[in-house]
């Protein structure tokens, strides 16, 4: 009774093939730019969570708990629909009138969300550094800020490259959620091909292949970084 005729041609026939590539380009942009935010804020809040000064530690904890405990989809909707309201009545309509608002919101929201996860890895990195090192660094006369900036953060970051690889991969995969606010990234495009051609299985398989290749590329890149910055004697493979 049912027969689904496969037509793999939709993956390269124009304009569908081009749509998928446009989607990939947006996925790369969103993932990469959000990663910049995630890494910088993640290092900042992860560090705040491990300092001695209590108010800073509370600040770091509040950020991490708020952002990692709310589903990303909900956060995205919040920033897109309710976010502009935080700026007051007149500014709100100016912000909403920006074209490409959904693109920027997706990058910022994904960055803020992933930062909370990166922050936890950073904290774990600090925790795995022996206490003796803190004392040794401070005894050289460095201030706590200098200690974190010159010694502890570079050290911790090298230790946590494997979990950071996972976060970097996840950020590209999570970027698919941006389609719910109309960002035409890879998944959006595969759905769009499905809607126009009804060849959803092929379109979805195409999107899967794109994500797989993108993910493998990220893994290779991170493998390279890991090998380049390995601390001899501290990490074994």
């Amino acid at each position: 009774m049912l027969s689904y005729k496969f037509d793999w041609g939709v993956l390269w026939r124009q304009p569908y093939g081009e749509w998928l590539l446009q989607g990939l380009w947006l996925t790369i942009q969103i993932g990469a730019l959000a990663w910049v935010i995630a890494l910088s804020l993640g290092i900042l809040f992860g560090t705040l969570r491990s300092v001695r000064f209590l108010p800073l530690r509370i600040l770091g904890s509040v950020y991490v708990e708020v952002f990692r405990n709310i589903p990303f989809l909900v956060q995205l909707f919040f920033w897109f629909y309710a976010g502009p309201m935080l700026f007051g009545k007149t500014l709100q309509f100016k912000i909403n009138a920006l074209s490409g608002l959904n693109y920027y919101v997706a990058i910022v929201a994904l960055g803020l969300y992933t930062a909370s996860r990166v922050g936890e890895h950073v904290r774990a990195g600090f925790a795995s550094i022996g206490h003796g090192q803190y004392e040794a660094v401070l005894s050289t006369g460095m201030t706590p800020v200098q200690m974190y900036w010159h010694v502890m953060i570079p050290h911790a970051l090298r230790l946590i490259i494997p979990p950071l690889t996972t976060e970097f991969l996840t950020i590209f995969k999570n970027s698919a959620v941006a389609m719910t606010i109309g960002v035409a990234e890879t998944t959006f495009m595969s759905y769009k091909i499905d809607e126009q051609t009804f060849h959803g299985l092929e379109a979805t398989t195409g999107a899967m292949a794109i994500y797989l290749v993108l993910g493998m590329t990220v893994v290779k890149l991170m493998d390279f970084i890991e090998a380049r910055f390995r601390i001899p004697g501290l990490m074994t493979r």
């Binding site: 009774m1 049912l2 709100q92 909403n96 009138a97 126009q196």
Partner: protein, 301 residues
């Protein structure tokens, strides 16, 4: 080395998955309904006044939901036993795939008949005509098609309305500043309210529905012009003519017995939720298609 061989297995699994045909239902829909005593109906949640969630009741109501009720009443009479509705919530995105893969037996909402959709599913007779129009703010400068130039227009994913805008913009009929895809009508209206778009497109009946359900219906208006026309039908799986006949006969019989007009009046009459006067052409159409009907169709042969 090990990683790559794992990748090979993964790739093989993916290919196998891709070539698996979607679940095939044994037997025809009518047999299945008789056997299980249930019919799985795909119902929308945001298609006012055809199928939408009534906050007071917490479940789907609307013109097409009432038609679903008629369908199961007829099915119960036909099989001589109680047939129950199993409602399945669908969206503009899932309504067609869920018919094709057998999750739903019939979609009863406000779906426009198109040639591309007809290739994948079967449509019932047309039971309503609408047109693609725009909802705008009361004081919006959009009055004619030409006013759409330079404006930000929104439409819901997977709708004929969005495709009409995209096609006409690509053909240069008008040049919008931006075309925004939303996840559904509720989000589309939200985008309009928050100023993310200047005009939201869907069928005029649905736009009126959105407007009437707002706190301030007078703050919005639907524009006078239309950019496309939308004949509505219910959707079923391809090549299942017994079931499609039954759905068609349910529509025809409702018109013949006057029940159809009652339901129309309940939802779209002057006192209904979304008043839409019947055009003369629509009235004539309804009268002409039921001419040959008599009671015999409800007897099981």
């Amino acid at each position: 080395m090990k990683r790559w061989s794992m990748l090979g297995i993964l790739a093989a699994a993916l290919c196998a998955l891709a070539f698996l045909a979607p679940p095939v239902l044994a037997g025809e829909t009518m047999d299945k309904i008789e056997k299980t005593g249930k019919i799985k109906v795909g119902l929308r949640e945001d298609s006012i006044p055809f199928a939408f969630i009534d906050p007071k009741v917490g479940k789907q109501v609307g013109f097409s939901v009432d038609m679903t009720q008629l369908l199961v009443e007829n099915l119960s009479k036909y099989f001589g036993k109680k047939i129950e509705i199993e409602p399945v919530t669908i969206t503009t995105k899932t309504r067609i795939p869920m018919i094709v893969n057998g999750t739903t037996d019939v979609e009863m909402g406000s779906t426009t008949y198109t040639q591309e959709r007809e290739d994948v599913v079967d449509f019932s007779l047309t039971f309503f005509f609408s047109e693609t129009s725009f909802l705008v703010a009361k004081d919006s400068p959009i009055k004619t098609k030409a006013d759409l130039n330079g404006k930000r227009l929104g439409g819901a994913r997977g709708t004929t309305n969005l495709k009409a805008i995209e096609d006409q913009a690509a053909a240069g009929v008008y040049k919008p500043k931006e075309i925004v895809t939303t996840e559904g009508h509720a989000q589309g209206f939200l985008a309009l309210k928050t100023g993310k778009i200047d005009a939201y497109a869907t069928d005029r009946s649905l736009l009126e529905g959105l407007r009437m359900k707002d706190d301030k219906p007078d703050a919005w208006r639907t524009v006078d012009f239309a950019i496309a026309y939308e004949p509505y039908g219910y959707m079923m799986r391809e090549n299942d003519s017994d079931f499609r006949d039954f759905v068609n006969n349910t529509i025809l019989w409702a018109i013949k017995t006057g029940k159809f007009y009652e339901l129309y009046d309940k939802w779209m009459g002057p006192k209904g939720m979304v008043p839409i006067p019947m055009s003369q052409a629509y009235k004539d159409y309804l009268q002409l298609i039921v001419y040959p009907m008599d009671e015999g169709w409800l007897k099981k042969k």
